[in-house]
Amino acid sequence: MTEPIDIRADLYQEIILEHNKKPRNFKVMDHPTHFAEGYNPLCGDHLTVYLKVDPEGTIEDVSFQGSGCAISQASASLMTTSIKGKKVKEAEILFDQFHRLVTCALDPKKDPHQLGKLTIFTNIWHYPARVKCASLSWHAMHGALNKVQKVSTEE
């Protein structure tokens, strides 16, 4: 790696540490319309994402529960706050943008996006082993919306 790396600035930023400590929307949902389990067999990160989508396609409620590293917990928490109240279509666009962001296929400074504070994950590609931690909950959310009930990062 040629660029200097500052792990506190790149990875363990205050906002991530804070969301890890107090994850938002951390609960099992009663009567979800959609849900899926996400599993990363490499590190054992394991979570379930629940969604309540109304007939008009608005995500009324979203929550998650599970265990994993700080990156996966904080990312799941931020995922829920980013898509709550949005249309399914908008959530899917965010999923695509987030996926491209963490795999270095989207440059938030140049490319159009609606990621907002999710750009804190911009430099995670410096840590290839951790990209899947950040994207796990997003894959689970995407799987839930598409009626895939189990998502593994190794497939």
Partner: protein, 410 residues
């Protein structure tokens, strides 16, 4: 004073070129030896020598290079026979690793000699490679897999193991040293107890081969397996030791070149041991490298290694447990130099990523022992596994790095 103060650590470290690299601008502290060990220069030179001067296939061809290659390859078999104190050289079968060796026994011995209702005993601390091959066999032959429990220190509960033994027990397969816990199992007692019921015993020596003297005759195990790459040799090399009369009764498990005496389209007669169980061109250079690795271990002395590593273990245990709220997973009385731990509020993967920034390589995860993680009610651990080229200063660096992790995750 004993001679151990003279353990030539500075000289030894210079023998391993990879130890002198820097990671993120810091000198590498390599504490992932249970995953794989570094290779000494003599092993690297053996590979280079083979590919530059002796490159050839073995056991065929009358040309000079083929004969040189065959002699060097077979010389490793003799070195391993001597290293493990096996009775005969034909008892040493080359595989591509410990995993393949276990699969060989399950597939060849297991499928031939086990029947419906027969039982196989493993322990709760097995690596997946000593669980899954037996599950596959049980499924096919409708045998029963039994699991001997362990206590909170990570020791086999011997009395419970004995209770599982019966006339139905056909195979006991247990790890010698746990890769996740460091527990040294009482292999000799495990074997003697199983033999009372005429069960065959396989000892998984993947973690013990480089930490203590192995004497397969003294152990009286029926099978002993290990990987070359954990013994300072190239990946893709491994060994199955089996008692001659047992190997002799086992059918080939893979067909191909080298394992035959003669082939016609109507009938093939098989070669004798050890070739019968070694189909195809093996990792010749790797096996020659394994021979060089054993020479290297001899040059230091396995007893001196064991003693030095024990000193490191004691030092590391004391240093790590001085960190507030750090919990060691695996506190067996008889233990090898493996330190698995968890910290409250920090997931092992965050620990792993953060200490990596200080150039420190540890393993984080389930260590291919998921049932064991469940037993200790943790999703994963951080693991520092030591070798004789590690130092107390490196352990100090680990401890300092973990203290910095705790500042980020108070």
């Amino acid at each position: 004073m004993k001679t151990r103060t003279a353990f030539p650590i500075d000289v030894i470290r210079k023998d391993f070129p990879n130890l002198s690299v820097t990671i993120h601008g810091k000198p590498l502290v390599y504490l992932d030896n249970a995953a794989t060990t570094m290779k000494p220069r003599t092993v690297l030179n053996a590979l280079k020598r083979f590919y530059e001067n002796e490159n050839s296939n073995i056991h065929r061809g009358v040309h000079h290079l083929s004969q040189v290659a065959t002699e060097d390859y077979e010389a490793t078999r003799d070195k391993i026979r001597d290293f493990t104190n096996a009775r005969h050289r034909q008892e040493i079968i080359f595989t591509k690793g410990a995993t393949e060796a276990i699969n060989l026994v399950a597939q060849s011995y297991g499928r031939t000699f086990l029947n419906k209702g027969d039982e196989i005993i493993i322990s709760h601390m097995e690596h997946h490679s000593n669980i899954v091959p037996w599950q596959m066999l049980c499924q096919e032959k409708r045998c029963v897999l039994k699991v001997a429990p362990i206590n909170d220190q990570g020791e086999l509960i011997f009395a419970e193991y004995e209770k599982l033994l019966s006339e139905r027990t056909k195979i006991v397969s247990m790890v010698h040293i746990s890769n996740s816990l460091g527990t040294i199992n009482p292999a000799k007692d495990i074997i003697a107890a199983a033999h009372q019921y005429k069960a065959k015993v396989l000892i998984d020596g993947a973690q013990s081969i480089n930490h203590k003297k192995i004497d397969v005759q003294d152990l009286d195990c029926d099978f002993f397996v290990f990987s070359g790459h954990k013994l300072f040799a190239p990946t893709g090399t491994g060994v199955l030791y089996g008692k001659l009369e047992i190997l002799d009764a086992m059918p080939p498990w893979q067909g191909g070149g080298d394992m035959i005496a003669s082939v016609t389209f109507e009938k093939t007669t098989y070669n004798t041991l050890p070739n019968r169980l070694e189909a195809g061109t093996p990792h010749i250079a790797g096996v020659i490298g394994l021979g060089a690795a054993i020479d290297y271990v001899h040059s230091i002395g396995i007893d001196a290694i064991e003693e030095y590593e024990h000193e490191l273990l004691q030092y590391g245990t004391k240093a790590l447990t001085a960190i507030p709220r750090l919990r060691l997973i695996g506190t067996a009385r008889d233990k090898a130099a493996i330190l698995s731990f968890v910290l409250p509020n920090v997931h092992p993967h965050d620990v792993g990523t953060l200490v990596d920034q200080d150039g420190i390589a540890i393993r984080t995860g389930h260590h291919c022992t998921m049932p064991l993680m469940k037993r200790f009610n943790v999703p994963a651990t951080s693991r520092a596994s030591l070798s004789f080229y590690n130092t107390k200063q490196e352990l100090d660096k680990l401890v300092a790095s973990i203290r910095r992790v705790k500042e980020i995750f108070p």
